[in-house]
């Protein structure tokens, strides 16, 4: 089984990207430059994307939600996942002492631009163990077409 889904994609621009990240961190701007819809690291929920020959797999790390309360929409080749996470800290108890409050709450929206070969008619979403997995089928690559010169 490939454990590679947790690795940043390797490539020519990797080092430049790493440098950019370093720079932006030193300038006080969090996160790495990516597509326009990617946001600063630490955003909720976090997203990993994998690709196979037949499908694009989007993993949304969104623990503690009700499957029925998650909205998954595909519009003009953009996948949007939205919902709301409520606080689990009980209210109204004056004797309650809060020591840590790190878990993000509130409304969230995250978007992923889909590649051109995504078949947006065939999208499946499943929620298990706090991960929303969206599977988008890819259309078969067209065979190169030879045109006869007349």
């Amino acid at each position: 089984m490939p454990a590679t889904l947790f690795a940043r994609p390797q490539g020519l621009f990797d080092q430049i990207d790493a440098m950019h990240r370093l720079l932006s961190r030193s300038l006080g701007v969090e996160g790495s430059p990516g597509t326009i819809r990617s946001v600063a690291q630490g955003a909720f929920p976090e997203i990993n994307v994998g690709r196979t020959a037949r499908s694009l797999e989007v993993f949304v790390f969104a623990p503690g939600l009700d499957a029925s309360s998650i909205d998954v929409v595909v519009e003009r080749n953009v996948l949007k996942v939205s919902g709301e996470r409520k606080s689990d800290i009980p209210r109204g108890d004056n004797n309650l002492q809060l020591y840590a409050n790190e878990r993000p709450v509130g409304r969230f929206v995250r978007a992923v631009s889909l590649p051109e070969d995504a078949n947006t008619e065939s999208v499946e979403a499943r929620y298990k163990d706090g991960i929303l997995r969206v599977t988008i089928a890819l259309v078969e690559p067209k065979q190169p077409q030879r045109i006869t010169v007349q």
Partner: protein, 128 residues
């Protein structure tokens, strides 16, 4: 932090960052009866979750399971560690033997009750 498990991992830097676990985000609150800890551990199933106690150290650990296909390659990765781990030190008045754990939709809930005698009690002030 001293950690036997991490000492056994290879020392080269690349392997180290590949396996270094991420600390899950937590909420911790205390009421009269004890302490409640909530930890975000998406992708961790009941089978891959470990909660163990060593002396007064409570360790919470879990492996993220994604069920990947053979030919899958990474296109985008914000979560870069397939493992969660965080260690907490318990204080003496907590009853570690009665910790209750519950995992649902990637959120771990631990309830650590206080020792019966450690619960606050009102002492009656007598007149005279």
């Amino acid at each position: 932090m001293s950690d036997r498990k991490e000492l056994t991992t290879p020392t080269n830097a690349a392997a180290d960052t590949a396996t270094r676990p991420v600390a899950p985000a937590v909420d911790i609150f205390e009421d009269a009866g004890g302490i409640t800890l909530l930890a975000d551990m998406p992708g961790v199933s009941r089978e891959s979750l470990e909660v163990h106690l060593d002396g007064d150290e409570l360790a919470v650990e879990g492996r993220v399971e994604l069920q990947l296909q053979e030919d899958m390659r990474s296109v985008w990765a914000e979560v870069q560690a397939p493992r969660f781990r965080r260690v907490f030190t318990l204080s003496r008045e907590l009853d570690a033997g009665r910790i209750e754990a519950n995992l649902k939709d990637g959120v771990l809930q631990l309830r650590i009750p206080k020792q019966a005698q450690a619960q606050a009690r009102r002492i009656e002030v007598r007149a005279g």
